[in-house]
Structures are given as C-alpha cells and as structure tokens.
Symmetry: C2
DNA sequence: CCCGGATTTTACAACGTTATACAGGCGCTT
DNA sequence: AAGCGCCTGTATAACGTTGTAAAATCCGGG
C-alpha cells in the first residue's frame, strides 16, 4: 500500500507553506526560480500527486466530459470515440465513455446526469430521445448533441446533413443505372436520423421520377448485422426484387449482403448496396461496400469545442453545426453505369 | 443555469442540522420516521443531489473503476466492455472506459494511474506491457489484468487458456484434413497473448507430426483487417501454399479471407480459416468464420469481482483465473473431414 | 416525578485543494 | 531618502460531505 502524499507533507518536507507548494504545482508565475526548484525537489522526493477529488471540490471542475454513444460495438462509434478522446486531450480533458444501447430510457438517464455524474460536460449521441425529453432538463452540465435534430432547443447539435447524404447515396445508385432502390433500417418514426435518411432516399427517388413506395422500406428493431439480414430476407419474401439497397448503416448493409449471397443473388450485378458510416469492416468483405463517410475527426473536434465553450456558465447562441461527408465508391455499386446517360465507372 | 443545492440548503429549508439531512440521504438507521419524511420533502422540494466530489474527498472512494482496453473498435472488446459495465452496475459501480491502442507506453501510463485518476480500481487488458513495467508500480489502486500472463506479480489475471484454445483450433483444422497450417498475427515476442497462441499452434502441429516451421508464421504490426490482409498476401508471395490459416483474431482472419478471395482462392475448399474471439462480423461475411469464443460474460464478472475484493486495502492471494471458451465451427472450416480418410465436402 | 438507558439529533473537525487578501522585501522613481 | 509598486511567500477560509462524540430527547419503571 502506497502512502498518500498531500501538499501538507510536501510543504513540511520543503519547509515552506502549503500554498507555495500549490503555486509550484500549478505553475503560478510569481515563484522565485530557487524556490521553485527546492519545492520541486521535495515533490519528486515524496512522489506527490495531486488529489483530484479535492481539486474538483474546490474548483467545481472535474476535467472530465462524458461521451454517451448508442453502441460501442459499432466501429463507427468506436472511431468517433477515438476522435473525441483525442480532441479532448488537446484541452487536457479526459473522456468518460458511456453507452445507452440507443434506448430512450437510458438516453434520458444520461441527459439528466444520472449515469456519469462527475463531469463538466456531456456529448450525447441520441437515437430515440425526443424533444420533450430534453425540454425540462434540470441539470447544469452543458450538453451537446451529435446527430441532426429537427427541434428547437438551446443545445448545439453537430452532424452531417443526413438528408443530403442519403440523397447523394441514392443519386449514385441511380447514376449506376438502378431503378428500384429499397431502404433498410427505418425505425417507424422512433429515430430522427432514420427519418432523415428515409426522407433523403424518398426525395431523390421522387425527383428522378422513380417510385419510393412503402413496400421498398424495411424497418428494423436495431441496426446490427442481424437486423439487416432479417430485413433483407423479408423484402425478398414479399416477391419484390429491387436492383439496389440503401442501408441505414454498414452493419445493416453487410447483413443484407450476407442474405443476398445465401439466396444466390450477386452484388453488385443483381443488386447494388450502399451503406452508411464507412466502417472498416466494409473494406474487407468479399464484396467491398460503397458507403457514406462522415468526417469523424471534424465531428469529434467540434463536439469538444462546443461543450468546452459552454463551461464557464457562458451560453453562446445554440448552433446547428454541419460536418462534411463523402461518398466512398467501392465494389458493391460497380457496373451497369450510366442509367439514362453516359457513365464513368 | 440550475443552482447547486447542498446539504446546507436542505437543512435550512427543513429547519434541521446538516448531519440529519446527511443521515436521511444515507439511510442511516436511527432517524425517526417523521423526521425522515420531513427532510425527504425538503430534499425533493429543492431537488438536492449529493456532490460526489465532496463525498469522494471525504470517503476516499469514487464509485468508479476504469477498464482500459487496447481497441474499442474491435467488437470483441466492445462486448467485453458491456459485460464489465453490467457486472459493475450490480455493485453500484460506474465504469470509466479507456483505450490504450495496445501501445506499451500508453499501457504503462494507465497502469501507473496517469490516465484515469479518479478511480477505485483498474482492469487492464494489456498487449505489449511487460513484467518489469509493473514491477515497481507506485500506485495504490487495485489492478486486475485481463489476458493470460506468464509472470509472477501480485495481481490477479483473468483469461481463457490461450494455449489450449489455440490447440483446439488447430486440432479442428487437422481433423478437417488440413496438413499445412499457417499462423497469422504473431508479434515477434512483443505480445504475450500472441506468443501463447503461437505456442499452442506449434505444440498441436508438432504433436500431430506436422511441420510448424517459421515460414508458416506471419507477423503483423497490428491486429486489424488490413494487417491480416497484408500478412496473408506476404505468405502467398513466398510461394508457400498452406491449406489452412489460424489467425490471431477475427479481424485478421477476415482481412486474410479478403486477400484469398481476391487471388481466387476459395475458403474453405482451398484454404480453411479459423479466427479468435467470435466477433459478430464473422457470422455475416460471404463465408462465415469458425472462431474461438471466449466466455466474455464470465470474464467481465470475474474482473469486477476481483477488483472490488481488493478495495478495502484487503489483499487476497493473487490468482490466475481461467474462464471458459468454445470453438464455434462455421463455414470457413467446412469439408474434407477426417484427416487422411474420406471427406464429405 | 425523577432517573437511567436507549434513541434521536447535533456540533465540530477533517478530507486536500485553491482563492483571497495580506505582509514583507526589493528596486526604481522622484 | 522617502514613497510607490512589483515580486514572493503566507495565513486563512472556503468547497460539500461524513465520522466521531457529545448533547438533547424520549420512554418506562421506581
């Protein structure tokens, strides 16, 4: 058992006051070089390490922010977490990771501060959380939301333009000659991001004069491989035979591709597939996956910036911040280019 | 901005002493029912929430343990994290997740308590960390290691039997008629788990009278898809043509399969593949992946139990704890059963 | 009606830190 | 040489909580 060394012990050892030691520890500027060195020697000799609980109590700051994600197992969120952690480190902040499972109840708990409670700020990536759940948030730690939101509440939210991204994905499919594009991964209104992607899908199809009827939309319970597989199977069993699939995210897309493979349907020859999030897994399947790639680094940086800006009780105007995205084209959408015009694939 | 309510405010509101409120909050037994109710009413009225920093300072306990993993993006670790979080919640403990990237320097930092510093205990899953790095650990928070270790230090370590698991995987390949089994994912002595798996691989091959020469072992820098792909490519370029591959983990195995696919080699017909960790991704590729499946739930439970048992300055005898594993057989090792006998593929 | 013992409540100190305000000491200006 | 201001270092008081020990209250029995 290592004995705990406090400022008092160091002060006694160096023969100075506690505050002087504190000044050295905190790099206070008005400390004579000789004194600084003497105290530092004592600090090293005793192996002093500041007690963060006391510091926290005194300053009211913990030096930690929480990042609450729906699913750690989804590599997209893992990469996003890494981005946030790095961005926070730049400001000497530690990130406390939490996961909500995308369940509304858990998201409410987190937003009210009942999960991670020793934090200065919170970055939350909600799935099912609704506007009213945040309306009367009785909690004073700053909150920043990841993911596009429709509502009007005094919180920043940072996201790519989901509608535009979905339209870009569908546009690519159309350009590749596809006429019947299914959407997999709707949540029947229970998820804002899903609604936005469905909307983008519908808008792009409609404006191209193609059909976007409900028979082409498959809802899922979750957004994992298995959900995508089940939904794809359901679509095929209705007898419907789309020539392209736009999936809510990459795991769903990969699950769907597995089912297509099992049924003897070839990707992309018979059915093209586009995912979302550009997860590493999508680059190593037997058929590599075309996907919408959000700029995770930017999202992480903006989130941290945004939450730290609200620390001192400051309340900058809430903003809707748009991060970039790109469509990464891979094997799953190859071929049959140039629908009604010339193509370049 | 929500005002911060302290015990003092509640005490004033209820017209009692601070300590009485504290007693109510902590469910101290000698509080008259009428008093308890009166105080509770004030607590509710003011929306009091205990200040954890002060509690921490006073009690010396934070109610948090850290779980440091090499890679959040690897779904194996994500699932493991979920298991630990659940197990900790049973004891009213919060888990602070950290990631080391599997880099020795980061692992040392974590083990010395320089990363997450407001914790009661630490569960660390090391990759490159060496015995000497822990020898003189000047840190008094209890540490538990995940992953089998050879050394003799006063810490519990919890793991499946890596050698036995590797032997089981290779044995399965041999039983399926394979004679030349490569290993992908060695780290040239820089990782204990890798060494153990290589040893199991070698032992099983040798005891079956098969060759286990160094030409069959491919080292990698990391353990992601790309590493597996690169290593597989390297093996093929030497002209060597194994009929099976045992990979350090599933992502490596999947990366390798992608390269085999690109070169026109069929899995499992030409080359069988076994992975490690039984990650969900392995169940949804074009060829599903046979894998060693550790009992993550048990590992999580044991880790939490183990770290909490060391809290009160108690130091139970350090133990090497073995968790279970199973080999899950899937498509990537089908066919050609029964070694030198007839097959059924 | 008073006393002893058990129950209930309270005052106070302490956990380790930093902010504030202040006391010396030095050098520079006038 | 006196005065002013800057640089250094210090004593003290918080931050919000809980453990300790003592004080107040209650109860039944003599």
């Amino acid at each position: 058992m290592v004995v705990r060394v406090s400022l008092k012990d160091v002060a006694a050892h160096a023969g100075v006051s506690i505050k002087t030691v504190s000044n050295v520890v905190n790099n206070y500027q008005h400390v004579a070089p000789a004194m600084r060195e003497r105290v530092q020697r004592s600090i090293d000799a005793l192996g002093y390490r500041p007690n963060l609980a006391a510091r926290h109590l005194r300053k009211g700051r913990t030096g930690m922010i929480a990042l609450a994600l729906p699913e750690l197992g989804n590599p997209y969120f893992a990469e996003l977490a890494a981005a946030v952690i790095d961005a926070a480190a730049e400001h000497d902040y530690i990130v406390l990771l939490d996961h909500t499972g995308g369940r509304r109840e858990q998201e409410i708990l987190v937003s009210q501060g009942f999960r991670a409670r020793v934090i200065d700020g919170l970055v939350l990536s909600p799935i099912e959380l609704e506007t009213d759940d945040l309306r009367d948030r009785a909690e004073n730690v700053p909150l920043v939301l990841l993911g596009e939101r429709e509502y009007d509440l005094p919180y920043d939210h940072i996201a790519i333009d989901n509608v535009a991204a979905a339209r870009a994905a569908v546009r690519h499919l159309i350009r590749m000659g596809r006429r019947e594009v299914a959407f997999i991964g709707d949540r029947r209104g229970r998820s804002e991001p899903a609604q936005l992607r469905v909307r983008g899908w519908r808008e792009e199809l409609t404006s191209a004069g193609l059909s976007a009827d409900d028979g082409l939309v498959a809802a899922t319970d979750g957004w994992g491989h298995a959900d995508g597989a089940a939904a794809m199977a359901r679509i095929l069993e209705t007898g419907r035979r789309p020539d392209a699939v736009f999936a809510y995210n990459d795991p769903v897309a990969i699950g769907a591709m597995r089912v297509l493979h099992e049924r003897g349907l070839r990707v992309p020859e018979d059915i093209a597939v586009v995912g979302f999030d550009d997860v590493v897994e999508g680059r190593f399947g037997a058929v590599t996956l075309t996907s919408v790639s959000p700029d995770k680094g930017a999202i992480g940086r903006l989130a941290v910036q945004s939450v730290l800006a609200r620390l001192g009780g400051e309340a900058p105007e809430p903003r809707r911040i748009r991060a970039d995205f790109r469509l990464i084209e891979r094997e799953s959408t190859l071929g049959r280019p140039a629908g009604d015009g010339p193509g370049d694939a």
